[in-house]
């Protein structure tokens, strides 16, 4: 008989090891899944994890890592602050969409003016859009005690309808021959979030993501507010005695994560994507939840996890074109990762012991 014994202190070693163990377990079970789908598992796993970094066309894929990783890291950093304090924003996908709509809308309002201040205004508008969308569940939670999980999630569906509405109406390209979707921001220089160094994949979103990582690290380790966030998550009663203002914390955590998700959406629409269209969002807001947990809600961990998740996106696309692996298989693969992570986290807090025959 096996019993669990609660550790007096969470194990440091296991806390670092669980993400690695989870990735390995996902590779094994993912391999089994690929084998069931009739693919060579070793080849498939190799294609996903090796090809984008060191394969023949790595020069093309490596910049893509930054492009895909930046929004994931940016969103996950915001989510992690809330998750630490037990504030669950799971509507980042909606905030990402609203950031893109606000950002692109602000830019297109100036079209075809050429001025240096347009892009900064778009950045502010994008962050504002995300902040606004996340502030709805925050305000409702503070004022009425409404569950922020359900409200933030419902707002994703509302945001998707908004996206459809503006791509067919308000932001539709007047010269687009009636097709849905906005003007391409890539061909509007003042609003284009171009690569800072050509061919590197490095755009303003990547820079912002790195700044966000540093900011979150400093906040959590060197700032009173960060201490309050950690305290609320780890010892809610102690937090109460320490005078933590829960309403302020909710407004801050949800608002900031919304603003970061909005920024991610804005950088995406003005850069790699270029167009506000019905199928603009691809689920970064949900994948970022996995990234946040995989990074153990730690800024540096999230940076690494974001890179790994970007790798599975790109590797998945390669495996799709080269091996005919279905796109959904990668989604399953990513979901599995979260499963194993949560399961192995047991070892951080508990010790597994073989029980001796118990005397009642």
């Amino acid at each position: 008989m096996i019993v669990l014994e609660k550790r007096p202190q969470p194990s440091k070693a296991w806390s670092y090891a669980t993400p690695l163990v989870a990735v390995l377990a996902t590779m094994v079970f993912g391999g089994i899944l690929f084998a069931i789908l009739g693919k060579n598992p070793i080849e498939a796993i190799g294609t996903i994890f090796w090809e984008p970094l060191f394969g023949e066309f790595a020069f093309y894929y490596r910049p893509q890592l930054l492009v895909k990783g930046a929004p994931l890291v940016l969103i996950a950093i915001g989510l992690s602050l809330g998750f630490r304090a037990g504030i669950w924003n799971i509507g980042a996908e909606g905030q990402y969409i609203m950031g893109a709509i606000f950002g692109a809308g602000a830019g297109l309002a100036f079209y075809p003016l050429d001025a240096f201040y347009i892009f900064p205004i778009m950045v502010i508008a994008g962050a504002f859009g995300g902040w606004l969308w996340a502030s709805i569940p925050a305000f409702l939670k503070v004022r009425f005690g409404t569950n922020e999980i359900l409200v933030s999630l419902m707002l994703v569906y509302v945001a998707e309808q908004m996206l459809a509405s503006v791509s067919l109406g308000l932001l539709k390209n007047p010269e687009g021959f009636g097709f849905p979707g906005s003007r391409n921001l890539q061909s509007y220089e003042s609003a284009h979030n171009a690569e800072l160094i050509a061919g590197s994949g490095m755009h303003w979103g990547v820079v912002t993501a790195l700044i966000a990582v540093i900011f979150a690290y400093v906040l959590l380790n060197r700032h009173m507010l960060g201490f309050h966030i950690r305290l609320t998550g780890e010892a809610p009663r102690a937090a109460k005695f320490a005078g933590v203002n829960p309403a302020r914390l909710i407004l801050f955590c949800l608002g900031l994560s919304g603003a970061l998700a909005g920024l991610a959406g804005m950088f995406e629409v003005s850069g790699p994507s270029g167009v506000v269209s019905i199928d603009f969002n691809v689920g970064y807001g949900f994948t970022a939840i996995i990234v946040a947990f995989l990074g153990r809600l730690h800024p540096v961990g999230i940076l690494l996890a974001g890179g790994l998740m970007a790798l599975t996106y790109i590797g998945g696309e390669i495996a799709q074109s080269q091996l005919g692996l279905p796109a959904a298989a990668i989604q399953v693969f990513q979901g599995m990762l979260l499963f194993f992570l949560l399961a192995f986290d047991l070892l951080t807090n508990y010790r597994i012991r073989a029980a001796h025959s118990e005397v009642a």
Binding site: E5, W88, L140, G145, L150, V151, Q161, A328, L338, L342
Partner: protein, 306 residues
């Protein structure tokens, strides 16, 4: 715009159809939450149920086997939630999200060969005389059997929770798991059974969408119904009959906005389509003031070491 084209009898009849997936999922989740477990994976279990039911009924030609497969599919997925929350003692919110993310991907993978396929039809019940009564007949007595299963399930859950010993134990576990454990009840075992029941119900609800409501398979076709079902449990204050009422209310909104879209009302389609989600939020706001009826141990991890 022609509102006169909306037939009130058909509207109410289709309202009941639209409400049934919500009702099935919500009743399952209600039992799970009564046992003190918060499973946010309803959406994931529904979509897996939707595709398992669809695939099996297409392969076998029998919608009944499809529904059985859907219940099994939902329960099997909920088994993953059991492993995470009851054995690995993982956070229930995170585990539920994992279930939904995994379920959405997994169903898309299973459903690849089934896009555009037409499932076998279940056919409506037709009772001579009763079904032919004008107005009442088409509204109440001309539906598919699963719709009545949903209502029967609601009644059964109500009776079991309110009047039986099993229901009493389930509620005890949900209200105070430490006390229930001290009394000698197997907290983990009871919770596992509740979670499996919730998974099976969500699976049925999903299959109702893919086999009867729509009926076809598209990726992500549950479109948030699982999440609305979670909101519905709060709306119902954890009471089965109020869940039925809530499901019909939401079903009514969905059907009404679809009818308004078809009738060509001056409101843009997108705004009509977002209305069920906005109304869910409004309802949550109105009802969130009173949390007294929530099971006291909801979402808390139980570990029998102390």
């Amino acid at each position: 715009m022609d509102l006169g084209e909306i037939n009130p009898v058909l509207l109410i009849a289709s309202l009941m159809v639209a409400a049934t997936p919500l009702l099935l999922a919500a009743i399952g989740e209600l039992v799970v939450e009564k046992a003190g477990v918060l499973n946010l994976g309803v959406e994931g279990m529904m979509i897996v149920g939707a595709i398992s039911g669809f695939a099996i009924s297409v392969e076998t030609g029998s919608p009944w086997l499809g529904f059985i497969a859907a219940a099994i599919g939902g329960a099997v997925l909920s088994l993953l939630f059991v492993l995470l929350t009851q054995f690995a003692l993982a956070n229930q919110v995170a585990s539920g999200l994992a279930l939904t993310l995994f379920g959405l991907g997994f169903s898309a993978l299973l459903g690849q060969g089934y896009v555009g396929v037409k499932p076998p039809s279940m056919g409506d019940i037709h009772i001579p005389l009763i079904s032919d009564i004008p107005v009442i007949g088409p509204i109440l007595f001309q539906h598919d059997p699963i719709l009545y299963v949903g209502i029967a399930l609601t009644a059964a859950v109500w009776v079991v929770l309110k009047y039986t010993r099993v229901g009493l134990i389930l509620r005890a576990v949900g209200e105070n798991h430490d006390a229930a454990h001290a009394l000698g009840y197997k907290v983990i075992k009871i919770r596992i059974l509740a979670i499996l029941f919730g998974g099976a119900c969500a699976g049925l609800g999903g299959a109702y969408i893919s086999l009867i409501r729509v009926p076809q398979w598209t990726e992500g076709m549950t479109a948030g119904v699982g999440w609305i079902a979670l909101a519905l449990v709060v709306f119902a204050s954890w009471k089965p009959w109020r869940a039925l009422l809530g499901a019909y209310l939401f079903g009514g909104i969905t059907v009404l906005q679809l009818n308004l879209q078809a009738a060509g009302v001056a409101i843009p389609v997108e705004y009509l389509a977002m209305s069920p989600y906005i109304i869910t939020i409004l309802v949550l706001v109105i009802l969130s003031a009173d949390k007294s009826s929530a099971p006291a141990s909801l979402g808390r991890i139980f570990h029998a070491s102390h």
